[in-house]
Subunit: 202 residues, 2 copies
């Protein structure tokens, strides 16, 4: 069976990455993996479904042992993607989507160089700003914080393999772009280093 | 306007590259360029349509000046792709398809590093051999010559960016693979080195 790819998707606030990912995850060739966390389960949350709920000691020892593909800490708790979980998804032939931030993406690439890094962007900073303000749901302070973060992170776009622009109403187009990237990457010669040998053996 | 890509397609006898290319060329986003040759026009051939018919001196001076993207000589005549012709196609926004052999492909990559090199292959050497024999149109000697050429050229597949397998009846699938490659390449970050600057300027 053909192994799935690890697809890392990052994008600033207003890039629409949540919508794009949910479109991709509707098709069986894409999957996400269940994250691990050290925070306590909330009522109704099921271990192994919503999260793998593990102890802080367990989480930290996994970090030490390189068993976390990426992780972050937020409000005193860790959140992350167990490497084993990720590999299981890919070995089932599905492409694993990780929606993570720029720093996490770099960590993933270090631990798993075959990962495909995709940056999803609004058409421009001006459009991004208009989208954030247009939502009308966030404080001015929060909006400024998100825009400043974009100013800091965007110069790192060159570390991504692909950049996909989400133009107005274009979440479906973005999903198609990402499907094309996956299809192309599956045919990339660097993923077929045994192509010549296999050709004569088959 | 978005510039078209230069798509080099190579493939051994029996890979079906003629069929795949003709499928691609049916859509307006792909184009070929008119080759130049030093051979005399045949009855009915029109200069600038079938070929650019030029003199041997002209052809050789274009080679010297790096004005031939690739060329070959056959039966004492030169055949090749004028660089200017190729650039005009791409600047019109269409992707230029060049169907050339392994050596020519390497020359193209040297002169035009942004070129995308795709190797089209039968599923295996055994299938290739069966296809060639199944045609029943070629002498045993010719078939052996083609198979030997494949044995020599296949180890160079690593110099291609992508390898696409033409499985039984799969010319349409191959064309779709190549369309996906083009779409992905258009989003490759290395083709958007000004992405971060452009994002804030737009």
């Amino acid at each position: 069976m053909k192994k799935g790819l690890l697809i890392v998707i990052s994008g600033p606030a207003g890039s629409g990455k949540g919508t794009v990912n949910s479109i991709l995850l509707q098709s069986p060739e894409f999957s996400y993996s269940v994250s691990a966390t050290t925070r306590a389960p909330r009522p109704g949350e099921v271990d192994g479904v919503n999260y793998h709920f593990i102890t802080k000691e367990d989480f930290e020892s996994r970090i030490q042992n390189g068993e976390m593909l990426e992780y972050t800490s937020y409000c005193g708790n860790y959140y992350g993607t167990p490497l084993r979980e990720a590999i299981e998804v890919m070995e089932s032939g599905r492409n694993l989507i990780l929606e993570i931030e720029v720093e996490g993406a770099q960590n993933v690439k270090r631990l798993y160089p075959e990962a495909v890094l995709i940056m999803l962007l609004p058409p421009s900073f001006a459009v991004q700003e208009a989208r954030l303000r247009g939502r009308g749901t966030e404080t001015e302070e929060k909006i400024c914080e998100r825009l400043n973060r974009t100013r800091e992170e965007l110069p790192l776009v060159g570390q991504y393999d692909y950049v996909v622009y989400n133009r107005d109403g274009g979440a479906e187009q973005c999903a198609d772009d990402i499907r094309a990237i996956v299809r192309a990457e599956q045919n990339a010669t660097r993923r077929h280093s045994d192509a010549a040998v296999a050709y004569f053996k088959a």
